[in-house]
Symmetry: C2
Subunit: 597 residues, 2 copies
């Protein structure tokens, strides 16, 4: 028997007739039935179910098969109308504040001409008169039909009163106006830095405005860091973007102390939506945050410092990845090793000593072998459940692949990188060294846990694009036909697990989230199709209809994504401490599970 209120609430959740309310908590026990539900265990098995009951604490109390009787005492019923329900997606490698801060900077990626870009830059500067610097990204002179780089003077024409600094779409070049060049003290006397280039004006040594690679840091150093209010906005926007993509938990790879304090501010005031598995950007920051070990799970399992992120080498594109043999397209160069063997082991040991988890960026085959060596050695001193992580593991020497399985080393990989990088990878490595490139199937076959992510903001944080790439090794245009190195494709259960249950396990979140199981938080998404009944091209087009975290709806496609914020509303004017503090006391650390949006 359902009374009117019940019908409305049921409506609000899934049916098209509904009035909708963002972040409406599923108060009291709520039965979600008539759903096509699936949960994926770490072994890649898909478990189907027809209904689930969520308690008022936002945790799943019952998972019901088609003919199971629901418990008597549920207060509310929500009709799923047969829609597909999946666990919330876990992105195992992204840069949360990077995703958010990008939304606060000027985006030129859509501009089709220099004039359009100049207009957009001027309008942006006028809109934000208080910003001391205008910072942006995404320009591409080829897209503008310009057969040269733009100049500082052309940027001055848009904004001259404040420094402007705009990164090219590939992140390898920056465009500065005269104020920015002056603040960075770049003159005709300035030499090109090691590994960098200062473009010069024709027939002179005067800087032209564009700086390449290492030279960009000359200006980067001058850009003031984001203000705390900018960081709060960035986190809000990042959460909005991710939940709209169906991502409910993420490993934050390289959390600075400022990032961490931003997450805590959000948690303390009830504004932390997604679940963050944090890896500190440095040893001092890890010790400052965690002190004597990982933090507890905070805010009803929404935040935990797991350990530290280390960088062993660079990236393939810029030939920084450390390879066993020189680059095919740069015979004198085998890449960069950012930590020597001793430094790597000391850092791993210092972290493991206090039970911090270690996640190591390793892209080249030399770097991967080095990490596997270190894990092998350290596993003797540090027993127990360590879950060493290798981030990216892009190029692995086939002889090293079996070693992933030996100590359960987690391979944290980003399928979409394969489709973006394949031509570049072929150029860098040549045809004979691709056997261990993005080798998902081979690594998984060793028994090593395979966790997938997006590396956002480097790539879009769309899990279904990642799943499609993992299954097809082809890009959105279906290139190359039949897939690149197709022997390394994986079948549906594997990428689904890598984006859910294994992602949670890789960050010590298993049992809390990652699966739709009794006792776990009700983190789930409603999507428009059943991945098991679709081919990769169609899976890539999956639409997320709703996203729920801890039994609370945080995204509904019918309302569209919430608008991203660009400015804090200034509350200083109508400031009343008493009121202020009462409001805060209600949410502060009280952990009601309600999302304070």
């Amino acid at each position: 028997m359902m009374n009117k209120v019940t019908c409305l609430r049921a409506g609000a959740a899934l049916s098209a007739l509904a009035i909708s309310a963002l972040s409406m908590p599923a108060q009291a026990d709520t039965l979600f039935d008539n759903i096509n539900g699936m949960s994926i265990s770490r072994d890649g098995k898909i478990h189907r179910f027809a209904a689930m009951v969520v308690g008022d604490d936002g945790r799943i109390t019952h998972i019901l098969k088609r003919d199971d009787k629901p418990p008597k005492d549920v207060e509310y019923r929500e009709d799923g109308e047969g829609r597909v329900v999946l666990p919330g997606m876990v992105d195992s490698h992204l840069h949360l504040m990077g995703v958010g801060l990008a939304t606060l900077s000027l985006d030129l990626s859509e501009t089709r001409s220099l004039a359009e870009a100049q207009q957009k830059i001027a309008a942006y500067a006028a809109r934000f008169p208080d910003r001391p610097w205008i910072v942006g990204r995404g320009w591409n002179q080829e897209q503008w039909g310009l057969d040269r780089f733009p100049s500082a003077a052309e940027l001055d024409a848009a904004v001259a009163d404040r420094p402007v600094w705009l990164m090219r779409v590939d992140g390898h070049a920056g465009w500065a106006n005269s104020r920015a060049l002056a603040l960075a003290e770049i003159t005709e006397q300035t030499e090109n830095p090691e590994g960098g280039l200062i473009m010069r004006q024709a027939g002179s040594k005067a800087p032209a405005g564009v700086l390449v690679d290492a030279a960009t840091s000359l200006v980067d150093q001058q850009v003031p860091p984001p203000r705390p209010e900018d960081r709060d906005l960035a986190l809000y926007n990042a959460q909005t973007l991710l939940t709209a993509q169906g991502v409910t938990a993420a490993a934050d790879m390289g959390t600075s102390i400022e990032d961490w304090m931003t997450y805590r501010r959000a948690g303390d005031t009830g504004h932390l939506t997604i679940r963050i598995m944090s890896y500190a950007a440095s040893l001092p920051e890890m010790l400052l945050i965690g002190g004597t070990g990982p933090t507890p799970w905070l805010y009803q399992d929404r935040l935990r410092l797991n350990g530290i992120k280390l960088y062993l080498d660079g990236a393939l594109g810029s030939r920084g990845a450390a390879l066993k043999q020189p680059y095919a397209d740069d015979p004198g160069n085998s890449g960069l090793q950012l930590l020597n063997g001793t430094q790597l082991r000391n850092l791993m040991s210092r972290a493991a000593m206090d039970n911090f988890q270690v996640a190591i960026h390793a892209i080249g085959d030399f770097a991967n072998a080095e990490v596997l060596d270190a894990v092998d050695e350290l596993s003797e001193s540090y027993e127990g459940d360590r879950r060493w992580r290798i981030e990216h593991a892009q190029i692995v020497d086939p002889v090293d692949i079996p070693r992933f399985g030996q100590h359960g080393t987690i391979a944290s990989m980003q399928p979409i990188h394969q489709t973006s990088d394949r031509l570049m990878a072929e150029a860098r490595l040549g045809p004979d060294r691709l056997a261990g490139a993005y080798a998902w199937r081979s690594i998984a076959a060793t028994g090593a846990p395979l966790a997938f992510g997006s590396d956002a903001p480097v790539e879009a944080p769309d899990p279904f694009a990642g799943i499609a790439a993992a299954m097809s090794r082809a890009d959105a245009q279906g290139q190359p036909f039949g897939g690149w190195q197709p022997q390394e494709t994986v079948s549906l259960g594997q990428p689904l697990a890598a984006y859910t249950s294994v992602g949670a396990y890789a960050g010590f979140g298993e049992g809390r989230f990652g699966e739709l199981k009794e006792g776990q938080h009700a983190d789930f998404i409603v999507v428009d199709r059943d991945p098991a009944l679709n081919n990769p091209e169609d899976i890539r087009e999956t639409r997320v209809l709703q996203t729920w975290i801890g039994g609370v709806k945080v995204y509904d496609a019918r309302d569209g994504m919430e608008e991203l914020k660009t400015e804090t509303e200034d509350d200083a004017a109508d400031y009343d401490p008493a009121e202020d503090y009462t409001m805060q006391a209600d949410t502060a650390g009280e952990d009601t599970g309600e999302i304070g949006r």
Copy 2:
């Protein structure tokens, strides 16, 4: 009607027959009756009551007069046996980690000879073989009957293998061994630094071992900062010491980011006992912690960043306090102004802009006048409830005293300083400038809130010593007879309020703690005498029998104070993440109000 369980629980709380359990939560509604209770409102009025009811959330639900009927539904009754119950004491100015870290260093204040000190130093070094430095304090060569300073060689005789650095009792000189001098690179070539002296060996320029004033920083710079585990121990010890003194809340004056993270670790794992009103040690730290404003009250009102601590001048003893006229005992010197007027106003303005509270150290009459000027000017731009605080306000020109009342500027003062400093103050100021010295009664008469504290670890954090000093202006020996400048004594209600309700108000804690009133946390102490029936000398001897915070007993004199910890028990050996995390998840931010001791 009471069943057996009830009797036991009742017993556990107050009666002498009881089995006792530290931090036993008052689960369900508990009636504390047959008590001689008093609460003090901010106007200094004492409100008596005979019983109170504490709910299972640790808050007071009823305050009952002698003949009031208790509510029917209380589960437990605890017989106060007529004992005196006061609100938990609020210390409005101390250095929490300073109190704790002092317990981790070697204390030589009890040593009676150089030989005894050497023996104690050697034993301490043997006990802590892992400590890279041996750090201590409290030595006094006069107490040793030595007519000279001790030497580095005499310290080497105790410990030679590690650097040793020991501060004199007055904090104005440090005693280093040869390793410490070598690490600080102090040789015969080293010149005396400005404002400092390197004692030399007889007939040579070689350092003798003792460094005075500014020269001490040469070694201080070499001492490694405390490790996170040391900070955790320090906080544990500080809480143990303070609760044993009846202190249940404190304003932490100068919280570093490391301090703050230590408080959060304790809060996150359910080990934060007392209530901390935090004032950041610097503007960057304030912004890093609070970001866009004060933090919410965290952990059931146990932690909040209120704002920032600023230093405008130095101290009277070292003639650093900024005076309007030169020092009587140093005619060329009027003290130090550590911030000029513009810097002071800019910092106050930056903080107030985001509603952070500002607490300013001002000891000399010039410094106090300067702060009062700044408050007067800034009050025009920053309306609302700002609660500007002046810390110490020791020497105020009588013409400035009325200005405390104008904007409700809070005078945060430490009565015990008056009894410790009076002879020194007479020397520094001469007889004619004492009218506005430690002028509690005159400042309170302006209507300015008067908040009292201890400045621990500079003075012992004993509130009853402070209350006695405030009422008598005489020290523990009753000196001087009749009190020093007795016209500035205050009567009982004033210091009691300054240590409870006004202390809470001074840190935006009113309504949460500081009074025994319905809706406030049950923070109270049981003491062995009624302050209203005793003279100051006897009030100074008050014994705290029990201390309760949020309805949980955290100290019981019958058990004695918990032993202070000197080392972390190493748990890395039997490390089981799953267990570990489950334990943590239970307490993490869940805010059960239970103290996880």
